[in-house]
Symmetry: C2
Subunit: 744 residues, 2 copies
């Protein structure tokens, strides 16, 4: 595939279109848009909004300060604002044919050209790859990805000498700085490099500069780069394969399903350069067939990303991820419009575009607006989905189980991916749970306030490593207070969990079963999560069956990271008179122990109230169990962590073991009517009947109705077999990995 593309490009190199604009906005699209101005209200209104914004900016005048600040600081935010405004002004010039916008772009570019070459490296020394306009090359690349578009839009407005001046004083040295002068930034398999590749490739395409285009697509020669170097997040600088450049950055981090190994938060960020350079290549070199590369993975990735959102369009939190990021981000506005226009015109995308209420100012955005106005939008139906991880799709993955009605949507996010490069967390087999777009069991996300200067210049906080990446920060099993792979990035990067089986048909109960054999080498883990849809229940019920096999006794902690206020518990509990950290390392040093409970034998329940509904957690206790209630915030001198709450089910001095729990969402409370409805659990008991290497069988009883029996076959060779067992004097028979049946 790579070779193919190479051939296309170089055979057609002299056929490049010399029209401008022809990068993102094309001359043909401009003609079409101008003809239809005033006819597509959504487009016209959005143009008017952007025009108002840019006009205000033009009034302020061109402001190009000498770089000085970190993210969130004045010069950072000013240069960031500039590149957004230049891109918009360029598009407005083309769409409205008003030279005021071209003049503004020209004047700005000349101002940048005046200072660029003489700028020193940015004074803030934080980054492994310091930029010139910004503290890191990453942000300098953002600037060029946007500004290339502006330059393309005013290309023909400029005289040839003006263009030569800009290219010699600004664009060529800028592109060289991002690539040749910072190979440790440019030549990685990493979202940073994707931005760098796109920046260099896009300006190369505008300038018709073959060398830059080739550099963008295939990377720099490796030379004598340090193969063991690390970036600021502890990630490896060089890919083990030695691959680099834009095509390798598509090949490697995306699975064939379009899952991006760093997770949706970074996928969202990086989709912009991926898609923008792809559209640029498509427009300038159609023969590249870039949208067919790796079986069309770039557009599949947009679909995957949209499926990794809750009902509010917010991304599920996988690896480093800031809460609240959603498909309303500017990157997803572009991605949706591009996927619609360059893909197969999926009408489901139009409903998302309509909800975004923003479009791109180009042919794709115009087509989307036109289609919405003519009533073509259909709902984007999100169903349960499983996305494999790994370049070939054979290195674990994520499964999203969706159930309930659109108003009561219940999303179980199950993570059994690869490590996720430098943004990965040590969270094998972890899960999180959303109900109506609220987090019921949370993934903490990252410990960072992106672009808030007061918090470490907007960069990662040390608590991202000491807490957010640690296993205990996730809803998965921790053994002996150590993180998975002992927190070793290289070890974790070499392994991945396996799916044991799944059945996520979105009709009735759904199930996912996953295994991890390497996180704790002496203790293989096997987790089965069942989302039960049942008329005995108000909403879906989450059942969790977590097996750990160990020959030697050890300590297990199974955390439940909940939100809300405890209403009731049916076991004995002692609250702490003074608070100490629960441990000394691996995240435990950040947890205040606020109370501990001793369960009674068998069935125990804890209920809490969150966002005006009730949640009840039912647990099957072992005699070694202690329930530890914690609050985050210890050893946090800079108030960098949220003070979130956790229940740890701690089981000490135990070899092979089994955790069974059921999480039920029920009822409601209104502070206005003061009515409390269905505030108590429907579950009456969970009784474990059998737990062997081969089987787990248990019964659930409800306050009304029959008991439910659940049987799991847990050995690899028994997944398709017929099973026959005598349980409670009764013969139970089934075929395959599991059985759910009502007891008579």
């Amino acid at each position: 595939m790579r070779l193919l593309l190479l051939v296309f490009i170089f055979s057609s190199i002299n056929l490049y279109s010399q029209d401008h604009p022809n990068l993102i906005l094309t001359a043909a699209a401009v003609d079409n848009i101008r003809e239809n101005l005033g006819k597509v209200p959504m487009f016209d209104n959005y143009v008017a909004t952007v025009q108002e914004e840019v006009d205000a900016e033009i009034k302020e005048g061109v402001i190009v300060p000498i770089p000085k600040d970190m993210a969130g600081g004045y010069t950072h935010e000013r240069h960031k604002r500039n590149f957004f405004m230049l891109q918009k002004a360029g598009a407005l010039y083309q769409i409205l044919d008003d030279t005021k916008y071209a003049e503004y772009v020209k004047e700005s570019l000349f101002e940048y050209a005046r200072i660029y070459k003489s700028l020193p490296i940015h004074p803030q020394p934080r980054s492994y790859a310091r930029g010139k306009l910004f503290w890191q090359c990453l942000n300098d690349s953002n600037w060029l990805v946007y500004v290339s578009q502006a330059y393309d839009c005013i290309y023909t407005f400029l005289t040839k000498p003006e263009r030569r001046h800009l290219e010699e004083e600004l664009f060529r040295p800028y592109a060289d700085y991002l690539s040749k002068e910072n190979p440790q930034f440019f030549n990685r398999i990493h979202n940073h490099s994707t931005w760098g590749n796109a920046a260099v490739g896009m300006i190369g395409l505008v300038m018709n500069d073959k060398e830059l285009i080739e550099r963008a697509l295939y990377g720099l020669p490796l030379g004598d780069m340090d193969a063991t170097a690390r970036d600021n997040d502890g990630g490896r600088i060089l890919d083990e394969s030695g691959k680099a450049g834009f095509l390798a950055n598509i090949d490697d981090p995306f699975s064939p399903d379009g899952y991006y190994t760093e997770g949706p938060y970074y996928q969202r960020y990086t989709m912009y350069p991926y898609l923008l350079l792809a559209v640029s290549l498509h427009n300038k070199i159609p023969e590249s067939k870039i949208f067919e590369f790796k079986e069309g993975v770039l557009l599949k990735a947009v679909n995957a990303l949209l499926n990794l959102t809750d009902v509010d369009g917010e991304f599920f939190l996988l690896n480093d991820a800031q809460k609240g990021m959603s498909y309303f981000s500017r990157e997803l506005v572009s991605a949706v419009d591009i996927a619609y226009y360059y893909g197969d015109q999926d009408p489901g995308l139009l409903s998302i575009a309509a909800r975004q209420a923003k479009i791109t100012l180009d042919g794709a955005g115009f087509a989307v607006a036109q289609a919405i106005e003519t009533g073509k939008a259909k709902p984007f139906n999100k169903k349960s989905i499983e996305l494999a991880d790994g370049p070939k799709g054979n290195k674990g993955g994520v499964s999203i189980i969706r159930s309930g009605t659109p108003n009561d949507e219940f999303n179980l996010v199950t993570k059994y991916t690869m490590h996720g490069n430098s943004h990965g967390h040590f969270d094998k087999l972890s899960h999180s749970l959303f109900f109506r777009g609220e987090e019921i069991l949370q993934d903490y996300g990252l410990a960072r306030f992106v672009n808030i200067d007061q918090k470490n210049g907007g960069g990662y906080l040390k608590e991202n490593t000491s807490w957010a990446k640690q296993t205990i920060a996730h809803n998965t099993l921790v053994i002996n207070e150590t993180s998975h792979f002992d927190g070793d990035f290289d070890m974790s990067s070499r392994h991945h969990p396996e799916k044991f089986f799944s059945d996520v048909s979105s009709n009735g109960s759904q199930i996912i079963s996953i295994q991890e054999r390497n996180a704790y080498p002496e203790t293989p883990l096997h987790r089965t999560l069942i989302v039960l849809e049942d008329p005995r229940l108000e909403h879906s019920l989450l059942l969790d069956v977590f097996k750990a096999d160990s020959k030697t006794p050890q300590q297990y902690d199974l955390p439940f990271h909940y939100f809300g206020q405890i209403m009731t518990h049916d076991f004995q509990m002692n609250s702490s008179v003074s608070l100490s950290p629960l441990g000394t390392d691996n995240g435990y040093q950040h947890l205040w122990k606020i109370a501990s409970g001793k369960p009674k034998e068998g069935f125990n329940q804890l209920s809490w109230l969150y966002n005006n509904h009730f949640v009840t957690l039912s647990l099957v206790a072992d005699k070694q169990d202690e329930y530890i209630f914690t609050m985050l915030g210890a050893n946090d001198p800079n108030f960098n962590l949220r003070n979130d709450k956790t229940l740890l089910v701690r089981r000490q001095n135990t070899a092979s073991t089994l955790f069974i729990s059921a999480l039920e969402i029920h009822g409601s409370y209104s502070p206005v009517s003061e009515l409390s409805i269905n505030s108590t659990s429907t579950l009456k008991n969970i009784v474990l009947l059998l737990s062997t290497d081969s089987y787990v069988i248990f019964n659930i009883s409800f306050k009304t109705g029959k008991d439910l029996q659940i049987a799991l076959a847990t050995e690899n060779n028994s997944k398709t077999k017929k099973h026959s067992l005598t349980i409670e004097g009764e013969t139970v028979e089934w075929k395959g990995p599991y059985l759910l049946r009502d007891k008579q």
Copy 2:
């Protein structure tokens, strides 16, 4: 006034209308509504909604269980649901002329009549006045207030013998139980008694029972009741004046402005019986002119209550109050419709009714729906308002300062009321601050989960006394870790703060200055709060100048109960390695000390992020100051408290002193665009120039623009005087209590 009403009632007693319905829904209103069915969509739609609800209930059949549970439990919620449904079914029978609804009411009433006399006192022994259907007479009274309306609606549907049966077996014994058999409940000046009075009065009016009507209006003879008895909340059973009954309950707790001394949360609850018995009297005995009683205080009270809400319609938290209660409650739906119809048809009320999207099924609700449909609604403009407390309006009060635009509304709530009966808190001179309907500086509210059975049967929790009522739970000064009046209810009830002066014209900066001389007898307190509107600022700024006069050194704590995550501070801070409670009593036992800071000399700043905007608190430090950061939750074995955060400015070993602070809301952060805007404070310095018994003068400097000078004259005899002082070598002259001026 009381005598007058008495004369009216008894002179006209034989003229009572014998029509039915004539209590809330009248025969004339029924005629009008029936004629207009199908013509007023808002009314028709709401009738259809109610019909759907009642039809579903009728399908389920009549369910009258033997009483057993506390609030939140089954029998409690079932009987509660019954009285709502009966009231609605009665109205539907009249409006739709469908006997199905009358049959349902009749069948239900007969079922209640079958069991009532033989019911024992409710088995739950928690209340000082146990009911029969519910655990407290209060809820039994709720039942009768609603069911009287249902009985009135089907009165003529029943035969005389049927009515006699219901009255002898149910209503008369029911009314006697609430009054003669529970004088400690019926004869108070308290919202409990108002419900009892209304219940007895309304059923008396339906039954034409003079004795009950008289009992409702004037109370029971005092007899030998225990004058020192207390209710469950520690409030006095008997009013010192010996007054009782409905008219006394209007006279006493309402100020002439319509402020209800227990605060808006209880006013909301109690407005229903006040207004419903008032409407009943108005309809049955128009000569009573009940809406003119005490210069029309009942309808003024509705206006006061609506003005005690934030932009979301939620009540400000004064005394015991559950967060989230708002003018969307059923009681306020009635109140708004009644105030419109029986008042002066204020079109502002219609916009609130439209927002409520609910109406009462009677003449008032119909008139409101009709007026909204004909476009008569106008915005309900809330301005700054001051409401006096006390029966004569001379016992302190509350001042609400509103500033900013409707989208950026800034509400300062200043409390200098009387104690507030049994629901009062020890919070003299406290304030709370709302921005866009969010709490920036919070009042904790109550410690209770109303109607959530799991939490102490839905009743008050002991943390309401140990935390929520204590001074430290409020944004006001605490001396030597003791609450105001040493937490003594009787002492606190004997005193009230005084307003020193105010200027709340809603144009430009506003100011309120208040004094308290008795909370700490040796230390008079004087607080001046200024809401500064200034072009140098993005939003209004809250300035707080708090003086305490003491001859002897003591410890002061000034709490700031904030929400959000700390972003930055410019003073030295040490976080605690392990957490201990800050104190042992008066609420301090519930505070974990999480960090402490030592301010630098002069100006100190602390910023936090809350709901995607920034807040900066600027403090003028004294050399004795320590900044203590706490989290609520110590000594809370049942997880009854929220884990809220507080900054205490602690000043030790100090006699007379002065606290100056400025609270600034600024900027924004979006997790979607990841843009951080205006994240740093505009204030550069606050310099205290003069602090004497007579004057406080200080300068505020901003990052750009001139300095602002503020001078306060703090002696009672100097409020209207001319002042001339030499400050920084310059003569400063002004007249009156304060000066705000730009420095040259």
